[in-house]
């Protein structure tokens, strides 16, 4: 009898343990291609489903033009992918065809014709295509920026500014550039820490723009004050930091990244959105305290990599979200329009979706393209279902379609019930629909105090307005009862005293 019972139990146990194995076996075909994570309110790293998967890797060899050599620049407009094949001194233009999900080589540019003479490119670092089709190339070692039409015919050049604000002895080495909607050209050049160099369309120099503020702590200032001149010479100079990349968003604002800061990355604002006069207008309303977009919140020193994330590039979306590329650990940080971290993925390594030395980032639609300077390959990431739900929820909210946004967040929650921003997104939608109590519950679930406060304020107002009669009746009756009792006791006391 006992043996029978034991066998039955054994059978049940075997069945139970076999279940999850079967579930994995019959699950989705594609396994995770990445480690995607986010941070919780408490600063804990929380794994989540992949938001992007590797859709393709593109090499120079794929088109029979030899591999790229130390490529530094990547630019995408519509379906045209421009690669600055820096050490091969050429620009490669690739087109993507959606029909066959294929890529084809359009042209390789090694020189431009200036006055019927060939003028070879020399280590170009960046390229930009304007809205009207004009192409701008940062021809770094030739100390110039070339302006070409859409067929690479020469229009004019931009050279070292003949201006007192630019040091005479310094070479003009343009590295990154963008052209905004009013045709102003912003160039980030090597060794320039006064900000971005601003040029007019005709090539005349306009001045510097958006220099970052010098931050001197009281402690540094004190030591500088009491040290001798010889000591001071040995010290680090208090100079504004140099930007390392520029990008343009859909409204024509310039985004910059910088990675040469010391100390706390959250105070350094490594990604900025500059307006026309160079003031940083990036929204930093991340709900997690003072978490300004700066990459990883915590870092360890593994494999010789230490310190905070170093942003090398940024790409923006139509819903004002943006993705930053961390060159140090090869990670991609996606942020929403408020500066909340959406997800982090990527990493260093020699497999698909990992990078050795990622240098440039751009997008085609919602697909991300990352250029790796060392492996000379472009990696294309496409949204997974989960990632596209997040993206669409953001889009709907941005367009003011709050109900659709909430429905999309529901889809996200089906795939990841742990996603803080989905709850907050649903809270936002509820708040807009004047369902204050529901909004409060969503916010409370994920500790969004400020939004909770707003919802609560409205709820409280509504509640008081609805119950004002009851409240007044209670207050008045309390007043009457206490007063009445007081009088009653007084009378009784007087009587007793009298008697």
């Amino acid at each position: 009898m006992k043996i029978k019972l034991f066998l039955v139990l054994l059978l049940i146990f075997a069945f139970i343990t076999a279940l999850p194995v079967a579930a994995i076996g019959t699950g989705t075909g594609a396994g995770p291609t990445n480690y995607t994570y986010n941070y919780s309110f408490w600063g804990e790293e929380i794994a989540m489903p992949d938001a992007y998967y590797v859709a393709a890797t593109i090499n120079g060899n794929d088109f029979g033009i030899g591999n790229f050599l130390n490529p530094q620049g990547l630019y995408i407009r519509d379906n045209r992918i421009y690669v600055c094949d820096t050490d091969n001194n050429r620009i490669v233009l690739i087109e993507y065809h959606e029909a066959g999900d294929s890529y084809s080589l359009v042209r390789v540019v090694e020189y431009v014709m200036i006055n019927q003479q060939q003028s070879a490119l020399s280590r170009p670092h960046d390229i930009f295509e304007n809205r009207n089709g004009d192409i701008y190339i940062a021809d770094t070692e030739n100390n110039r920026v070339l302006r070409l039409d859409r067929d690479f015919n020469y229009i004019n050049s931009i050279f070292k500014p003949d201006d007192r604000s630019f040091d005479e002895g310094m070479d003009f080495l343009p590295l990154k550039l963008v052209v905004d909607h009013s045709n102003r050209i912003f160039i980030q050049a090597r060794h320039i820490n006064k900000g971005l160099m601003e040029y007019n369309i005709d090539g005349s120099f306009n001045g510097f723009m958006g220099a970052s503020q010098v931050q001197v702590s009281l402690y540094d200032y004190f030591w500088k004050m009491i040290s001798t001149a010889a000591q001071r010479e040995q010290m680090e100079l208090f100079v504004p930091t140099e930007y390392n990349n520029v990008a343009l968003d859909h409204e024509g604002f310039v985004y910059t990244t910088l990675s040469t800061f010391s100390g706390n990355p959250f105070d350094a604002d490594p990604v900025r959105r500059l307006n026309a006069v160079g003031t940083d207008i990036l929204v930093r309303n991340g709900m997690f305290g003072d978490s300004s977009p700066a990459g990883d919140w915590y870092w360890s020193s593994l494999g010789g990599v230490d310190g905070p994330s170093h942003f090398a590039d940024v790409v923006t979306f139509e819903n004002d979200g943006y993705v930053c590329l961390d060159r140090k650990r090869g990670r991609l940080f996606a942020y929403d329009f408020q500066g909340n971290l959406l997800y982090v993925f990527g990493g260093r390594g020699n497999m698909d979706g990992r990078f050795v030395d990622p240098i440039a980032l751009d997008r085609m639609g919602t697909s991300l393209f990352v250029l790796d300077a060392r492996t000379s390959a472009i990696t294309r990431f496409n949204h997974t279902e989960y990632g596209s739900f997040i993206d669409r929820a953001m889009n709907y909210y941005y367009e003011g379609r709050y109900d659709e946004s909430a429905a999309m967040w529901d889809e996200v929650l089906k795939l990841n019930g742990n996603y803080d921003l989905a709850f907050i997104g649903k809270g936002r939608a509820a708040l807009r629909n004047e369902q204050y109590y529901e909004a409060m519950k969503f916010y409370e679930a994920k500790y969004d105090r400020e939004s909770y406060g707003k919802a609560f304020q409205l709820y409280r107002k509504e509640w008081i307005e609805a119950n004002i009669t009851t409240i007044l009746v209670i207050i008045i009756s309390l007043f009457v009862v206490t007063k009445g009792l007081g009088i009653f006791f007084k009378i009784r006391k007087n009587r007793k005293g009298g008697a």
Partner: protein, 221 residues
Amino acid sequence: MTALASLKRKETYIKLLNELRYALYCIFHPADGFWCISREKKASVASAHVLLALYAIIEVLRLTLTNFQFVRVNMEYFNALFAIGSIILPIALWSVANWAFTTLMNGKGKLSDVYIATVYAFTPVIICNAVGIVISQFITYDERELYFTMLTVATIWSIMLVLVAMMQIHDYTLLKAVASSFLAILGIGFMLFIFMLFFSLISDAVMYFISLINEIVFRLY
């Protein structure tokens, strides 16, 4: 036996209630109030115990019941014993350290006087913490200054009460009270250091014997 027997008498509780009510007198009339604590036995160690227990309970309630807009506690790792310890331990250490220093500095107060006066001086914090729990349910994040100002005022008030209490029970001038309090804080640090030294040495010693026993066990088997 007498202590247990007194628990059954009604007068014990009336006395205790009166002693607790005296805390309210103390916080508004500190000079007079704390003078009478030691000289006229207006408060007892028992009432101080009760008040301290109340403080600890309200601290736990503050951390658990306050609206999440104003308190940042990760309930996953919350430990009520730590919260209680964070109230009782500093007051115990303070009483001992203060008593130890003031005895050397011609202080008139006994250890029990220091203890009673310190706990009584924290009455504003106890009251405001309790009120804060209630208020936090009705105010929004934008009105947080109301909540935090109240707690800050209560803390400052309590610290001043502690100083006045030290002046009164030890018969000190203000300067001497401040100096002795400062020394007492140093004393707390010193005591913690000795504790840690002691425990780490003891654990080392225990580990020595454990490894010795393990060694013998391994050899024998």
